[in-house]
Structures are given as C-alpha cells and as structure tokens.
Amino acid sequence: MQIEIENLFFSYDGAPLLERVHLQVRKGEFIGIMGPNGGGKTTLLRLLMGFLTPNRGRVSVQGRVGYVPQVHRTDRDFPITVQELVLLGALSQCGFWGYPKGVLARAEALMEQLGLRDYRSKPFSSLSGGLAQRALLARALLGDPDLLLLDEATANIDLPSTKIIFELLRSLRGKKTILLVTHDLRAIIEWVDRVLCVQGEVSSFLPKEVCEHFALGLYHTPLLRLRSEKKREPAHV
C-alpha cells in the first residue's frame, strides 16, 4: 500500500475537522479528491505530507512525496527564475557546487515536456497562472516522487495549461500514485480510478457514482454516501 490511514482524528483549536478516517491507497492508483471548501481536503494532504500530526490514529505513507500547491499560495513577488524554481524539486540531491548534471538534464526535459523551455530564465513572477502551475508541477516531478499530491492544480488556469497538465498526469497513470484535489467533474469522469469525498469524514466512490449524483444536482457528501449505501443495499441482501 502507498497510503494507509487508520481511525484518524484531527482538530484545529479543538474544532474537529477530520474524524473516523480510514483509507487505503494502492500503488499506482489515480485518485480524485473533492468536497466543499473547508471540508478538510488540503488538511488531508498536509497530514499525508507529515506537516500536521493527527490527534488520534495512524497515517502511513510509503515512498517519496511530490506536492503541487495552488499557484496563488506561492509568493509571486519572490525573486526566482523558472529554472531555479524547478530545480528546487531536487534540492535533496544538491551538493555544495550545485546540482548533478543528471538533475539538470532531467529539469530541462521536464520543462520541455511542460512547454516551459522558453521561460526557463524568466522570472516566476512574470508567468501567467497556467504557466506558473506547470512550473510547480515540473518542480514536484523533478524529485521523481512515488506519490504525487496536487492541490487544485487545475483551478483558475487557462485551457491549454489544463490540457498539458492532464496529458502529463495521464502519462504517469499506473507509474505513480496520484491524489488530485479538484472541483473539475470532467476530470473526475475521464481520469480517476476512485473519488474521495472529504467533508469531515472521507468517503470513497467510483467516478460513475459521483456523476450520477451530480446529474441529480447533489453535491453534499453525506447525501452522496446515503444514496450510494441505498443503492448498494440489494447487493448485500
């Protein structure tokens, strides 16, 4: 298993945010994470990365982790070029004299793949939202992670960038475990193996189950779960 969470409980200043979370993710799975704002999606990612400690329960993550934050959460005024930013993804391999040649070559290849080659010497602050998001994805991939976490990486960015990001994620399908926080229903239908609805608790669905409920105009996670359980009842009888 790439991820195992057992009976997790997490609260901010005494207010429960996530409770009774049980989750297992196999290696190579592509998982979409959805849920309302403030439901605990980003908190779940931060718990997986070890930035937060659960109040109760156990979180186990195998392998290297790569993280793509939302572009608006980065400091867009920071004096850094695109190439410098991408290379930070292999900081653990950086020696006193700089990055190994292999890392530099891999960074070039990733920038080429994500359409960033012409921007390599340009300031990160001069990039559009879509290009900046691609640079953050290249940074996360440079460290060759086993588990890739993307926090709304395709929200509020241009269509060509969304397409490039999803094409790259498709090429990684089965090779890396991917957890993608998204509100993009189309992405959920087309790409993911499983959907996690996060709203205080974490419920797991197949993409087609989520789509059926969206078709009925439902989004609320407990409703989704209720309908899903009702639907499954005959199978258990």
Binding site: F51, V65, Y67, F78, I80, L91, S126
Partner: protein, 279 residues
C-alpha cells in the same frame, strides 16, 4: 573630505559592513521577517547595557559591551525563532514584548551606570567616527563568516524563504535552518551597530534590499544589488553628514529612506517593462 583619518576608517567600515548587510537584508526582506529583525536590533540594548553596567559599576573591566550585544542579539533571535516555530498565532504580540523588554532592560542598566549619556546616544544611533582598527578587523571577520555560511546554504535558504513546505519535503532541517537565519540576522545587526546604531540598523538592513528587490528577479542578484546600494547609501550619507555636520547614522538612514520613496513609483513601470520584455 576623505583625507580625514576618522572618515577614512568610517569609509572602510561602510564598505566592510555592506556585503553581509545586503545578503542578510535580502533574506530578511524575501522571508518577510523585518519586524523580527527590528526586535532583535532593539533587544541588543539589553545585553549591552548589562555589560556596560558590569564594566563601569562593578569593575568587570575586561567585559566589552559588544559581547553583551552579541549575547542578547543571539538570545533574542533564538527566542523569537522558538516562538515562531511553536506559537505562531501569538507571534506579533510576543515580538513586541521582547522588543520593549530588551530596550527597557538596557535603559535601566545604563541609568545605573555612571557617565554613559554620550555612549548611550552612540549605541542607539551609531557613531561611525568612533571606529578603531580592531573594530574594522572584527567587521571583516564577521562579514566573511556571514558570507561563507550563506554561500554554503544558499539554495537551502532560497527554499526556506520561498516555500518552507517544499524545503521540508526535500529533507531540509527547516527549524534549524530558520534558527540559523535568525542568528545570522543577529550577527549582522551587531555588525551594523557600530556603523548606524541599534535603532537605525533595521533601515540599512531592509531598505537597500527592498529597493534591490524592485529591479531584480533572482535572489543572488538582489543580494549583490542590495550590498552595492548599502555601500552607496553609507558612503553618500557619510559624506553628507560630514558636509552638513549631521549625525552620520541618521543621515545614512534618511538617505536610504528618501531614495526608497523616490524610486517606489518606478516599480510598477519597471515591472510592466519587464513583463513586456518577457512576453
């Protein structure tokens, strides 16, 4: 003007303090810890006042106040770092408390120490014309040490300042690096204390770096430009203070602040030009 031996020594002090000030000032500005740097600068007075009191009132003749400045600067930097890492919600109020407690301690010890009025003024607002040969040697040593540490950890500092979470995922000991950064800020402030004084040190630490940040897009260039601006402001301020018979520290700080205010409106225009050039 610079035929004067005192001014020559002062000029060397400006040139020696500038590189470390530009480099550390840039890290302070991009990490947005100017308020913390201000707190460290002001709490320096506590240790300095205590050592001066021990030296003058209690006869501990060997105890130079500069060691008190070092001690209190490092202690307040580590305390601030610990608070930032463990109690982030109440950080600003605690910074204000340390800031004023350091100043208050210093003022009390200085008031208990006989004949320190002129020295107090010089510690608070600096008197670069006091610089001696051994001070210059100390400045050179501290400057070299700061630059060496930043050169070794440059990319890690870059990650720490840009994205702490990324640094953590890359296995960087973020807490230790953060405390190291604050300790370097503390050493830089002690270094600047003799040039511009504790109260005005924050001006030379932040204004040249902020100005450099308006017109550069790499941290390493920002550091270089900030160091050059720091040297320029110090030398021009020193010249102006000599010409108008103004206090050197205050003249340097005022010149830096005035330049910042004058150049700030150009920032937007520069960014637009930059964006057009890269499109």
């Amino acid at each position: 003007m610079f035929d004067n031996v005192f001014l020559q020594m002062a000029l060397w002090a400006c040139l020696l303090a500038a590189p470390a000030t530009g480099v550390i000032g840039s890290l302070v500005v991009v990490k947005r810890i100017s308020f913390m740097a201000g707190c460290i600068a002001h709490s320096v007075l506590g240790g300095m006042g205590f050592c001066l009191w021990l030296q003058r009132a209690k006869g501990v003749a060997w105890l130079d106040p500069i060691w008190g400045a070092f001690g209190s600067a490092i202690a307040s930097a580590l305390l601030l770092g610990w608070i930032h890492l463990n109690y982030r919600q109440r950080e600003d109020a605690v910074i204000a408390a340390i800031w004023s407690a350091g100043m208050a301690t210093g003022m009390i010890f200085l008031s208990l120490t006989p004949g320190t009025n002129v020295e107090l003024f010089n510690y608070l607002f600096g008197n670069i014309l006091w610089i001696t040969g051994s001070d210059l040697a100390r400045l050179a040593l501290l400057n070299g040490a700061i630059l060496a540490v930043v050169a070794v950890y440059y990319r890690r500092f870059l990650a720490l300042c840009f994205d702490e979470e990324l640094a953590l995922l890359q296995g960087v000991a973020v807490k230790r690096l953060y405390l190291l950064l604050l300790s370097l800020v503390a050493v830089s402030i002690v270094l600047l204390m003799q040039v511009i004084g504790t109260i005005l040190a924050i001006a030379l630490l932040t204004i040249p770096a902020t100005l450099a940040g308006l017109f550069t897009h790499r941290l390493v260039w920002m550091m270089g430009a900030a160091a050059a601006l720091c040297a320029l402001f110090s030398i021009l301020g020193l010249g102006a203070s000599s010409l108008f018979n103004w206090p050197p520290g205050a003249t340097i700080a005022l010149l830096a602040a005035a330049s910042y205010l004058l150049l700030l409106p150009l920032k937007k225009q520069f960014r637009l030009t930059l964006r057009k050039a890269f499109e």
